[in-house]
């Protein structure tokens, strides 16, 4: 019998949302449109329209050593051209952001290749070849994993994911990279991800309502869906915990 890939256990809403984000066959909804030029500005790695800097000659020049792995793996566009590796980092508020850092890691590794990702308490970094990173960052800003108020694009000083929201419902940001435009009811980026002011304000759209966020969230919370209420998720977590503990301590006691 062929193995059927599984993604995440559970029947609760966050579990279903997690499963959907992690499954590469499920298409993600696009909620907003942000121009590529604006995404490049927010990332802050190069001036929009300028050439990509390279760290090695294009692969087509054939200077790579002969290697079976190199023949098997089809390189991404950025790798073909020899682009630098650049990064984007997202911070997700604990107040029902559409996605949480650890789920991001699972989703990234399940859906895309050519990335290196790292999880920290409130943020998730992606490292990737520059031109591929820009496309991915654009997708991630435009799709349903992003909420203008509860998700932040922050290269440094990411503090705020566990802070209370401000009066406008925005996640706290000590560097104030984005601001609330009360007239439009939209969130606008005024700085790039490391706090350098932008020449134009980049709108990332209207924040979702609380009810909408609660229906889309992948976060288990005591005041939302408690993880303990989802029996299958709890059992899988307990099993992982037991196996990890015993296997590093008394592996002969692991019977299943």
């Amino acid at each position: 019998m062929a193995y059927k890939r599984q993604f995440y256990p559970g029947a609760s809403l966050p579990a279903k949302n997690r499963r959907r984000f992690m499954d590469p066959t499920q298409e993600m909804k696009k909620l907003r449109e942000v121009a590529m030029e604006d995404v490049v500005k927010i990332l802050g790695h190069r001036v929009p329209g300028s050439e990509y800097k390279s760290i090695h000659p294009p692969l087509e020049e054939g200077t790579e050593p002969d290697c079976p792995i190199r023949q098997m793996v089809k390189p991404l566009e950025g790798a073909k051209a020899g682009d630098r590796v650049r990064y984007v980092q997202f911070t997700d508020s604990v107040y029902f952001a559409p996605i949480a850092p650890y789920v991001r890691a699972w989703m990234y590794l399940s859906r895309w290749r050519g990335i290196d990702t790292g999880t920290l308490s409130g943020r998730q970094i992606i490292e990737m070849r520059e031109r591929d990173l820009e496309k991915l960052a654009k997708d991630l800003i435009e799709n349903e994993t992003f909420d203008p108020a509860k998700t932040g694009i922050r290269g440094a000083t990411v503090h705020g994911h566990a802070c209370r929201l401000d009066e406008n419902g925005l996640m706290f940001d000590a560097w104030q990279r984005y601001e609330w435009n009360a007239d439009k009811g939209e969130v606008e980026y005024t700085k790039d991800q490391v706090g350098i002011p932008l020449d134009v304000r980049v709108s990332v759209g209207k924040p979702a309502t609380d009810a909408d966020l609660r229906s889309r969230t992948t976060i288990f919370r005591a005041d939302g869906v408690d993880m303990n209420d989802d029996e299958e998720v709890t059992n899988v977590n307990l099993r992982i915990h037991k196996l990890r503990t015993l296997s590093g301590f008394q592996p002969w006691k692991v019977k299943e």
């Binding site: 000083t157 929201l165 009066e167």
Partner: protein, 139 residues
Amino acid sequence: MSDISTEAVPLPEIMIFPKRLLNADTTEKLLNRIHGLKHVRQINLHGESLPVVVNYGPGKGHKVDHPQRRVIEVKGEKMELRVQVGRIFVEVDDIDNVQEVSDEIERICDEILPFDFYLEVGRYSKFKPTLTDYLRGLR
């Protein structure tokens, strides 16, 4: 507004814990109302630090220009608000007056804060100089 003074008995404090981080305008309004209350001895503010400049990384040296970091005026006295306020501690001059002040604060908060909050009574800040204060020459 705080100063380092020794009390024989730690005086009670009422903590105002709003559901949202307060804007400078709201903080200013709230302080002006609470500062005028009878039996209020001092007010301490806690919150998230708002730096003046980006202090590291490629953007080091750029001004942050956070709209919530500004000079506020409380009862005619100007002071720079350097945090986005998350908790306010109101020290009351005697334990017998806590209920009266607490009721007043609740009424003011209901009026000013457009979101939920809760009040708690306890002692949250130091009430006598610490060894560090002594070493710094503050006492």
